[in-house]
């Protein structure tokens, strides 16, 4: 209890908790879950964008997309490393993912169906992620906070690129504009669901806020995202994807319709449009690659043994 009080006091003073510091088991577990899910999201997040890499319409767009996906894999690495400071290995986390015991962001269970989706993913999905991640730069766990700072820089770049890509579509031919509209229509609600259920329904929120694992509430972050995104949609000349959207003078914010949370919970339960494909892709990649990991490990061991023998 004394330790716990001290711990909370440090958090309240906005000191960072570092790997070697004492921390409550539940704090550690919550962080592992949250950072692990975040890492998995980066990895699984390669797939919907990868779906269009082979169809990117110009060499430059292909290069931009490759660079983005490469960054995401890199973010996965930072985050697994951050999780490892909490005493869980990357392989353990990956195994939990493959067994369905850990999640990744539900947004990646939606398909990318036209080229504008790639712009929309950068703009809306990375955009939503950034709103969340900017807040998490102030999270209490040092390695996580530092990973967020690093990741945010790259993500903002992605979001800008995504917006430029969809702008090209929205201001392009009628067919391109239709694709942009279709993308916004399909991805709007999934994007605003990325902040999680309403504060009133969110399971882990309160304790996480106290520990500053979460820094701002789901609804608060969602509102910020909505407020920053609506003017962008309008600038693109696209129809708003939700008839419930309108400026609320009194609140100084946009009102918007509540997404269909039953869909959200269905997706969480594995019934999204792409859950099966995404998890199959990942587990197949992992299983098909076992011989590669084993081979490289065996080679490393041989070399180490040879060095030892030579000494």
């Amino acid at each position: 209890p004394k330790l716990l009080e001290e711990f909370q006091a440090r958090i309240d003073r906005d000191e960072k908790i570092e790997p070697k510091d004492w921390m409550p088991m539940a704090y550690r577990k919550t962080l592992i879950r949250q950072i692990g899910q975040h890492a998995h999201s980066e990895v699984v997040g390669q797939l919907p964008e990868g779906n269009w890499i082979t169809r990117a319409p110009t060499l430059e767009r292909k290069a931009i997309l490759l660079a983005k996906v490469q960054d995401e894999a890199g973010h996965g690495l930072y985050l697994y490393s951050a999780a490892e400071t909490l005493g869980v290995s990357r392989d353990e986390l990956v195994e939990l993912l493959h067994e369905g015991k850990m999640k990744y962001s539900s947004i990646f269970n939606y398909p990318t169906l036209n080229w504008a989706d790639i712009g929309a993913v950068g703009w809306l999905v990375d955009g939503a992620a950034i709103v969340n991640q900017v807040a998490l730069q102030r999270t209490s766990y040092g390695p996580y906070s530092r990973a967020m700072i690093r990741i945010c820089k790259e993500e903002s770049f992605h979001a800008r690129q995504g917006y430029h890509a969809i702008m090209q579509m929205a201001f392009g031919t009628p067919a391109q504009k239709a694709m942009a509209q279709d993308a916004v229509n399909r991805l709007w609600f999934p994007a605003i669901m990325m902040f999680g259920p309403s504060d009133s329904e969110s399971v882990h929120s309160e304790q996480s806020m106290t520990w500053k694992i979460k820094v701002r509430s789901n609804d608060d972050l969602r509102q910020q995202f909505v407020d920053q995104t609506i003017p962008q949609i309008e600038y693109l000349g696209l129809d708003l994807p939700d008839p419930g959207i309108k400026w609320n003078e009194e609140r100084g914010h946009y009102d918007y319709s509540d997404p269909d949370w039953s869909e959200f919970f269905n997706v969480i339960k594995g019934k999204g449009p792409c859950n099966v494909d995404r998890l199959n892709d990942r587990t197949n990649a992992w299983e098909d690659g076992a011989w590669v990991r084993d081979g490289l490990l065996a080679h490393g061991n041989k070399k180490a043994a040879a060095r030892t023998a030579a000494e």
Partner: protein, 252 residues
């Protein structure tokens, strides 16, 4: 003729990197370990970057106003000039890395020579690309060694990959009148003249990898002349060119 030969030469360089880059990009999100996802995306990215230079210059030399994108996305299979090696399907990770190594080794030797090209633009592109390729060949070579000299299974798979791909290596050293024109103009070496340096590099790495180079000297051809690609290229183009074909004239 000289300009057309240069155009053909540039297409060969650009199509190699375009098609191989495309193949590598197919791995996105599906490789054996996260570090490899990053490395493969990086390789693909470099290759697409090189494509932009080579095909961009090709379009200028041709002088018909075609951009690198026009050349990449609006030619059909028979107009491609990449060697067959670059268009072969990925197969397993071992085959992909073996193909990469066999190509990187050629590319590193070729680019080294092109750095002293009489054509300044060619020399510039080669100088830039050769830094990237030096890294690629080191990396793909290391992986080939690691997997060749790894477990019994990884060794067997890498030997199978080498056996499968070796008949496609020879095409990189074929010479024809295009090459003769390039040699004459001091723009590029005769590909045949790269073989010795290539064999030295490749033998060294493959021997560290405990792999045996097939002795049969037969090789497939038809890619760099466009006479006879494999059936695989047409399928690749269906995806790669889809948007440009379906929505002609749009800006992306």
């Amino acid at each position: 003729m000289a300009d057309n030969a240069l155009f053909q030469f540039l297409l060969r360089m650009g199509d190699n990197s375009l098609i191989l880059g495309h193949r590598v990009s197919e791995w996105c999100g599906h490789s054996p370990v996260l570090e490899e996802d990053i490395a493969l995306a990086n390789t693909a990215l470099d290759l697409i970057g090189q494509t932009q230079f080579w095909l961009g210059l090709a379009g200028e030399v041709e002088g018909k106003g075609r951009t690198a994108d026009d050349l990449a996305f609006l030619r059909d299979a028979w107009d491609y000039r990449n060697v067959l090696l670059c268009e072969l399907p990925n197969g397993d990770f071992g085959r992909t890395l073996m193909r990469q190594f066999l190509y990187d080794a050629w590319s590193s030797v070729m680019l080294g020579r092109l750095m002293t090209s009489s054509n300044e633009r060619v020399a510039e592109i080669a100088a830039k690309a050769s830094k990237e390729v030096a890294y690629h060949v080191e990396r793909s070579g290391d992986t080939v060694v690691g997997l060749g000299d790894g477990t019994e299974e990884s060794h067997a798979r890498m030997q199978a990959a080498l056996d499968h791909l070796w008949p496609y290596v020879g095409e990189m050293f074929d010479s024809d009148e295009v090459d003769a024109a390039m040699v004459k103009a001091g723009i590029a070496p005769d590909p045949a003249s790269l073989r010795e340096e290539y064999d030295a590099l490749v033998s060294k790495v493959l021997s560290q990898a405990t792999l045996t180079i097939p002795t049969d000297t037969f090789h497939h051809k038809g890619g760099r002349t466009g006479y006879m690609h494999t059936e695989h290229l047409g399928h690749l183009l269906c995806s790669m060119q889809w948007l440009q074909r379906a929505y002609p004239g749009a800006t992306w």
